[in-house]
């Protein structure tokens, strides 16, 4: 059989390793075979290529470089200043993660870290569950670079520095694979950019694909505004889904959720009912705390794609926190039928069963959850079991569960808080106090910790600490009436002559 034919076939069957070997054979015989050369490039690229449209975790350092528009944005127009959460009057408030974001239905990039200023990011203690990468881009670049070096023992496949970019840019069949090879495999963005510039000269800037690649290069360099112009130009040439998604991503990085939403809506007029666009819209609404609208879009996703795990999970969480555990239970059962089988799901099923008063299932759900749990989520499972124990007022069991949770994850602030409350009920005020103090340094974004600490210190007469701590509580949760009342009481001591 022809060697090139078999290489092509292997490429199509995604047997990249074999394909590369065959191409190398051809190239050894005739080093100027462009077809083999291109195929080898494509195979090498396909080995390491990732779907880079999916939003990445925003690194700490990246947030410094952000050219954000407004420093103090109006509520609802920025991820840093989301719509003020309606307090309990409209459904229960969602609990927050250690880093201060309200919990979401699924863990995806961006739900772990809180979008805030650099100071906030640095102040958030780094623990196993809240660590954020320092920068997003370099982390991936380093990984990919090493991967490409390992595969080639006798030196790199293409000596990029010796390449005549202008020549290759003019060859249409080679230029695009070459760009992808440089961009994804070699991760040499600067040189990729050179190639883009050459190629743009050839096509007279009329090719949307090259414009998009240009925008991507700018994005990686953090030059968001230049990327935006390139992508806008690409849209003018030909509105494609990929360009829309990249542009949305840029507006999210620029912290302009409203513009991103407008863009997605425009895109939806062209690409009707496109799930990726709907997902983006739903995520953005969730990011600015507009849960009802977010859920509306997740519902639309389910109309198009009834198997979308993210949508099902997010809707379920919404129902759970708006006092309808029965409905949440149905959505979680759907997930189970779809084949999701993990500790989180069983844990949520157990909680829903308990709050929907279907007691027969609770214990078995949690047993299953515990058997599936690994180190990262076992603490959460135990923490939730402690809630069940509190629900039936078995305080000894609750305490044991919390202690187990803390033994797995000592920085579980919510567990610390609950243990402190239980210890307070057992009249171990000093233990309770030290627990709260430890937890509030781990998770400064949980107002309960501050409020409880303020109450305790006020009780023992340390008005000074109480005064400062209750102010922190109000800063985190401005609508907490009990904190305001405590502060009002304390103020009489402080302003009085």
């Amino acid at each position: 059989m022809d060697v090139f034919y078999s290489a092509l076939s292997e490429f199509r069957r995604r047997k990249f390793e074999d394909c590369i070997n065959h191409c190398t054979q051809i190239l050894e015989k005739s080093p100027y075979d462009q077809a083999a050369w291109t195929l080898k490039m494509k195979a090498l690229t396909a080995q390491v290529m990732v779907d880079d449209i999916e939003v990445e975790e925003e690194g700490i350092a990246d947030s410094v470089l952000n050219e954000t528009m407004a420093t103090t944005a109006r509520p609802g127009t920025s991820f840093k200043n989301p719509t003020v959460l309606q307090s309990l009057a409209l459904g229960a408030q969602r609990p927050k993660t250690n880093t201060g974001r309200p919990v979401s239905g699924v863990v995806r990039p961006g739900t772990i870290g809180s979008r805030g200023t650099l100071e906030q990011a640095l102040r958030t203690p780094r623990s196993a569950s809240s660590a954020r990468p320092a920068t997003a881009q370099s982390g991936r670049a380093i990984r990919l670079g090493t991967a490409s070096m390992l595969t080639q023992s006798e030196g790199p496949f293409i000596q990029l520095s010796r390449l005549n970019l202008a020549k290759y840019a003019s060859t249409k069949a080679v230029s695009k694979p070459l760009f992808q090879y440089i961009f994804y495999h070699e991760n040499d963005i600067l040189r990729a950019m050179d190639l883009v510039v050459e190629a743009m000269k050839v096509c007279d800037q009329k090719d949307w694909w090259w414009r998009l690649q240009h925008g991507k290069c700018y994005y990686i360099f953090g030059m968001m505004r230049d990327a935006e112009t390139e992508l806008r130009a690409a849209l003018k040439l030909l509105p494609t889904l990929e360009v829309f998604l990249w542009l949305t991503r840029i507006y999210i990085r620029l912290d302009q959720p409203v513009t991103a939403l407008d863009l997605c809506r425009t895109a939806l007029q062209i690409f009707k009912d496109e799930v990726t666009l709907l997902t983006d819209i739903a995520r953005i609404f969730e990011g600015i705390n507009n849960i009802p609208l977010s859920v509306k879009y997740y519902r639309e996703i389910l109309h198009q794609d009834a198997m979308n795990v993210e949508a099902v999970a997010c809707i379920a969480v919404h129902y759970f926190y708006s006092d309808q555990p029965e409905l949440a239970l149905r959505f979680y059962r759907r997930l189970l039928q779809m084949g999701v089988y993990n500790a989180e799901l069983f844990n949520n099923l157990g909680l829903c069963c308990f709050y929907a008063q279907q007691y027969d299932m609770v214990v078995s759900c949690f047993e299953r959850a515990l058997s599936l749990a690994e180190n990262e989520n076992a603490a959460d499972v135990w923490y939730n079991i402690s809630h069940i124990a509190i629900g039936v007022c078995d305080l000894a069991l609750a305490e044991q569960c919390i202690r187990l949770a803390l033994s797995i994850d000592s920085s579980h602030a919510a567990a610390c808080n609950n243990l402190a409350v239980l210890e307070y009920l057992n009249e171990n005020t000093s233990v309770s106090f030290s627990l709260l103090q430890a937890a509030s340094s781990v998770a400064p974004s949980l107002f309960e910790l501050h409020f409880n600490r303020a109450l305790l210190t006020e009780m023992v007469g340390d008005y000074h600490t109480s005064y400062t701590v209750v102010q922190k509580s109000i800063e985190v949760h401005p609508g907490h009436t009990d904190s305001h009342r405590l502060l009002k009481n304390l103020k009489t001591f402080f302003s009085y002559l």
Partner: protein, 448 residues
């Protein structure tokens, strides 16, 4: 942007001295006056301005001014020190404010105010013993002052020396007619001598009628002494001054609810809910209002919110059990009742509820034990509804003799109440489907 924030943060600190002087403050002219004309200028020249800025609440300007004053006088301006202390206290930096007050005291040890502020700082830092000593030395410096005695009283309260506290506060009340002292005194007496507490509250109300808090506390005290009319009046006064005062509304609502007027109570609670959305007591009471109107689903969701807010509140758990009993969800009723009982094992109605739930779940042995435990807790006192339920239960498990005996006891306990008699007779004659639910005792809460 980040640089700005940091710079602003440090600008607020009193330690940084290398700050450009404000052109609008007259200090620069004062400094020039000293150097050019060589005249002696009193330290207190700008005290009027300091005072003005302080009372107008312009704390930042005032602090800057105080700094320049202190720099000029090498820290010898007593009033500037004093004002710095006061402002830092308002900002919650008690330790730093104590340092300033200590300096004041070094400058003028005979000034009672200086010693008083030092004592107060100790009190705020949670060191009542030291505060006590300081107040003692302040009292020696001059004639007794109400504020000294008031502070002294608070320290005694903190240390648990209640008799001395009462003495100090009474003297404070005699010396100065202030609301704080009256209220502190009233709170001190509230547990031991409610009569004196009420008197203190009344004086406070008469002196300062515009403070709704005092009126609410007075009402609560009246209510605890079962003087409902006076309690109503006090809450009414509070609402006159603040028509949406949450505690007064909650108390009034509870009272209406107790008198079987759930509609009126609900209107009060609705007003209250805007100010107290996170109060479990409020949601509990709202839930029971709906229960009284036979709207069980609304009642359950309100009570569930109460439990979400306070998972260990046995009253809400008991109420939820009761509502579930009425909706014939016996397993849930049992769960909530047993949870409630774990928090408060001595509450007889919970045991009764538990027994009824167990009986409905066909666990008669456990139900019987629950009944017996309830009767044991009640002792020999009359418990007509408990005995009546027990009688019906015994009848249903086929123990006619014992049932008749219990029924007789119930009749005696209820003083031959015709209604109960009728119910019991009906139960005995007609083989009822379910045991009677005479357990419609509502658990309600007053104040937060």
């Amino acid at each position: 942007m980040s640089g700005d924030v940091v710079a602003n943060h440090y600008a607020g600190r009193p330690q940084t001295s290398s700050r450009p002087r404000e052109p609008e403050t007259p200090t620069s002219t004062g400094a020039r006056g000293l150097s050019v004309h060589g005249e002696f200028e009193p330290l207190e020249t700008n005290n009027w301005l300091l005072h003005l800025k302080y009372v107008r609440g312009e704390h930042e300007t005032c602090k800057r001014l105080a700094h320049t004053e202190l720099a000029k006088s090498q820290g010898h301006n007593e009033y500037a020190n004093y004002v710095m202390g006061l402002i830092l206290r308002i900002e919650g930096r008690i330790q730093e404010s104590l340092d300033f007050f200590n300096k004041c005291r070094q400058l003028d040890p005979s000034n009672v105010d200086n010693v008083k502020q030092v004592a107060r700082s100790h009190f705020l830092l949670g060191r009542p013993e030291q505060a006590l000593a300081e107040y003692g030395s302040a009292l020696k410096l001059g004639p007794p002052d109400w504020s000294l005695l008031h502070g002294l009283g608070l320290c005694y309260v903190q240390l648990g020396r209640l008799e001395e506290a009462a003495e100090a506060l009474t003297r404070a009340v005699e010396l100065g007619r202030t609301e704080e002292s009256h209220r502190a005194l009233a709170r001190l007496h509230a547990r031991s001598e409610p009569g004196r507490a009420i008197a203190a509250y009344r004086t406070a109300c008469a002196l300062f009628p515009s403070n709704p808090e005092t009126a609410v506390e007075l009402g609560q005290l009246h209510f605890e002494m079962a003087e409902t009319q006076q309690a109503f009046d006090a809450w009414g006064t509070a609402l006159c001054h603040d028509p949406a005062h949450p505690a007064a509304l909650l108390a009034l609502g509870a009272e209406f609810q107790r008198n079987d007027e759930p509609e009126v109570a609900l209107t009060k609670y609705k007003l209250c809910a805007q100010r107290l959305p996170e109060s479990s007591f409020l949601w509990n009471n709202i839930g029971m209002c709906f229960f009284a109107k036979k709207k069980f689903v609304a009642a359950i969701s309100c009570l569930k919110r109460a439990i979400y807010l306070a998972p260990l509140d046995w009253k809400a758990l008991y109420n939820l059990g009761l509502v579930h009993m009425h909706t014939h969800q016996f397993v849930s009723a049992f769960h909530f009742a047993s949870a409630s009982m774990k928090r408060n094992p001595l509450h007889v109605p919970t045991l009764l509820l538990l027994a009824l739930a167990l009986h409905s779940l066909a666990d008669d042995t456990s139900a019987r034990r629950a009944f017996e435990q309830a009767l044991r807790l009640r002792g020999d006192s009359d418990a007509p509804e408990l005995r009546a339920n027990f009688a019906v239960f015994l009848k249903r498990i086929g123990q006619e003799e014992a049932a008749r005996a219990q029924a007789e006891l119930a009749m005696v306990a209820a003083a031959r109440d015709p209604q109960l008699e009728q119910l019991l007779r009906a139960a005995f004659d007609a083989q009822p489907e379910r045991p009677e639910d005479i357990s419609q005792i509502r658990a309600e809460e007053d104040e937060v």
